[in-house]
Amino acid sequence: MIARVVVSLAVLALASGCGGGAATPPAQTPGAATAGAPPPAAGAEAPPPGAVTAISDTPTSGEAASPRPAMNAQAAQAYSAGLEAFKLGDLAGAKTQLSRATSADPKAYQAFYSLGVVEERLNEVGNAQSSYRQATVIVPDYEPAIFAYAVLMARQGKGHDAMEFLNARRASMPKSAAVVAAMGEVKSIQGDSGAAQTYAQEALKKNPDYAPAMIALARDHYRARRLDLSLYTLKAILDGYGPENPPRDKNNAEARLLRGLILKEQGNRPAAIEEFEKALAIRPDLVEARVHLAAYLLESGNATGATPLLEGAVRYDSDNVLAHLNLGDAYRLLGKVEQAKRELEWVQKADPQLAQVHYNLGLLYLFSEKVPGTTPQQATDFAIGEFEQYKKLRPRQAGSNDDTDELITRAKAKKGILDAAAAEAAEAKQPAAAPAATPAPATPAKPAAPATTGTPAIRKDL
């Protein structure tokens, strides 16, 4: 089943034999899994123990898979290295290795599918579609590729094409729960909740344990703003309803993510944080959970906690503008000026109209001790420029807690001090002038009366 998660990829890859006609995994020796892999991306973190970094491709019909070509040894080695790279969030390395696998074995349908996954994450949509498609050309009933291809098309606004593709597959795979669940997901993306629910229910009738169909139902309720029903569904998946109805898939990270998002919307911050944390413990690749959780931490002043989350987010989604924006600010708060500048300048280039980046750059230039490549005067000028730009992009609104004007004033004051100091320094280089007259001694101050501020006793409670 697509969603039945693989708890320990390395162990299972070594231990599993040929299952239901699936390709035989390559012979492994210690360290072989990463032999061909590039070194991990800078700062890459190993996934937590028990994390899920790959799925199974056992057919959802409950029947044995159709005969499928086995991956040759050379491709298998590259494939394994590709998955190791993916596990570390090294998408470029994963792409290289998986491409190598497809070149070494043009029938390696799993490699084409997994390559599509990586390309989709790299926002190479056309390539991803081609790779998914190729996997289904090699193995026409290959469910992971069918599901991913159709959903990607729907996300690109081609829901009609996706349904046409799925209808054709359904005719030849009438028992597949994955195909019908994909139809549900596509319909939901198209905004047709009624059809989405019907298809997802149908998928569950074909395979009652098929978690993606359950998630499709919950997600459709969420999209249709039936939040209670979505939470109901998620409770059934994650917690169950008593001993008679145990949880259907208690380690489902997508369900945790969805529940976290709903709880966030409902203002239940502690519960949302817990769900995002649990989701990430299972699936560290969930960029959305990382960004939301990191934002919570940043908002409460915990840049140390937010930074690794955001570093992981940009590894798995290097084009994620908001992850870069927040990471830039996290670095600034940690005093990592150079990294902060790099991230924020990247955001500025990627989306110059994003007002927040100008504010954050302004803070970086104004408050950092030394910004590489700039003199203190230049940094102050840049700060003023960035704050002005922020104001232009986001005009002050009544009642807003906007401090931009105050920051500009401070930047100008700082500039004045720097200019004066520079002028003084230049003057000091001139021939020495006559010594100043000795200042008169200050008049001794009278003892002051006690303060009249009605000082309340400061309570150290909480």
Binding site: D57, A200, P456
Partner: protein, 447 residues
């Protein structure tokens, strides 16, 4: 296929038993057994629908159970409660009303009825998206939610069993107004606080304290009290809204300041009530920051007082001094000069002393709110403001004093330039999708 079979079997058993049970005579002695089987079958069918996430059918089945007179009353009541909850989530008003009627008729307790009525009322609330613009369907949904919450509160405010839900209804009555016109929500925030006071009295005790403390209702009431106070402070006290523009002679300025300091103390105590009365971390932290802001306003007013608003002497003394200074008498001139210096210095000393005193409180409250926000993972605009003001204060009062005042704040571990460095930037999150990209596939089959 286990669940499908289960569903099929449940239906089969139901049709068989339902068809024959009625025909059975009680005297046969099998009646009770058959009814028990029938109930089990219905429960299984409802459970199967829940398992299949088919909530409309699950609600219908619970409804059917509640309407079957052969079943025990408490079982029927529980089924009608389940049906009511599901119909509420599905937004089926007619079915909700029917389920509620059954629930009451089946002997639901007053507290259960109060809860059921609140579930029905919240069906309208669920249609409203608080964070979307108040336009079109969302504006209509907001007004409908407001009506439902107002009606619930009005109908239940005097009923003790509904006390807990009355707090929630009052809160949403306030929020649905506050998002569009904060001033119109004032009355409803007050109602929320009053409703909470009542609930606090009625709620069961836990470890010797009211279980209402630290609850959701406590959070709602704390938000209400904080919102009311902060609006009032904004209107009557904040420097940003034009207060503390001291003027007159130095003595008059000090007197004005002293009077304002007494008022600040009053606001401080009122904010302290938010901290003490509800035990809500989020609003305690916000209230602490707001306590700091009182002394921030006060010290800003004093710090900014300058001539011509500030005069060192009253008109009569000034005239005398001027006359002495313009006289040809060197002794008189020296005395006048000395008087000016002495008064100037006394003013400065007094001002600095008052500033220190206010700064100490301001920094303690702001910094403590920052520490607690991190400890409890809480964010609030009041905390963001606290950090900004601490950063500003560092520049105004200097590192030495900041170190002295902030050094005493537990867990802060103040280091030089800390508040400037931690000044928060703009954090953004993407619009929620809840649909991640797929994972690659494991070669080697399923575990």
């Amino acid at each position: 296929m286990r669940v499908t079979r289960f569903l099929f079997l449940s239906c089969l058993v139901l049709s068989t038993i339902a068809g024959t049970a009625a025909a059975q005579s009680k005297s046969e002695g099998k009646y009770e057994t058959r009814v028990k089987y029938l109930k089990n079958a219905y429960d299984a069918l409802a459970g199967s629908y829940v398992l299949f996430f088919n909530y409309p059918r699950a609600a219908e089945t619970f409804d059917k159970i509640s309407a079957t007179a052969r079943f025990k009353q408490d079982e029927r009541r529980e089924a009608s409660r389940q049906a009511l909850t599901l119909y509420s989530s599905l937004g089926d008003r007619t079915a909700m009303a029917r389920a509620r009627q059954n629930f009451v008729a089946l002997g639901a307790s007053p507290k259960e009825v109060a809860e059921a009525d609140f579930i029905i009322a919240t069906a309208e609330l669920k249609r409203w998206d608080r964070y979307s613009p108040d336009t079109g369907a969302n504006a209509t949904a907001r007004r409908a939610a407001q009506r439902a919450m107002d009606d619930y509160y009005t109908a239940n405010k005097a009923r003790d069993p509904a006390a807990q839900y009355a707090v929630q209804a009052a809160y949403w009555s306030a929020v649905t107004r506050h998002v569009v016109q904060p001033r119109e929500a004032v009355k409803y925030w007050q109602i929320t606080i009053e409703a909470f006071e009542k609930w606090k009295r009625l709620a069961p005790l836990k470890d010797g304290k009211s279980s209402a403390l630290s609850s959701l209702e406590a959070k709602y009431a704390a938000e209400g009290e904080f919102t009311l106070l902060t609006q009032e402070i904004e209107d009557k006290f904040d420097y940003e809204t034009g207060h503390h523009r001291f003027k007159g002679t130095s003595v008059e300025v000090v007197n004005q300041y002293t009077a304002q300091a007494a008022i600040a103390k009053g606001w401080y105590d009122k904010l302290q009530h938010v901290n003490d009365a509800y035990l809500s971390p989020e609003w305690t932290i916000a209230a602490m920051s707001r306590q700091g802001s009182l002394y921030d306003s006060l010290r800003t007013g004093l710090y900014n007082v300058r001539p011509p608003a500030l005069k060192m002497f009253d008109a009569k003394t000034e005239a005398l001094l001027k006359r002495a200074e313009n006289s040809d008498d060197a002794d008189l001139q020296a005395k006048a000069d000395e008087a000016r210096v002495r008064v100037q210095e006394a003013w400065r000393n007094k001002r600095d002393q008052e500033l220190d005193s206010a700064d100490r409180i301001m920094i303690d409250r702001y910094a403590t709110s920052v520490v607690l926000a991190k400890r409890y993972n809480v964010s609030n605009p009041a905390v963001v403001r606290a950090i900004r003001r601490l950063a500003f204060a560092t520049e105004v009062i200097g590192e030495a004093k900041m170190k002295q005042f902030a050094g005493g704040v537990k867990e802060l571990n103040y280091t030089e330039g800390m508040f400037q460095r931690m000044r928060p930037g703009q954090v953004s999150t993407p619009a929620p999708q809840g649909m991640p990209e797929p994972l690659p596939v494991l070669v080697g089959g399923a575990p």
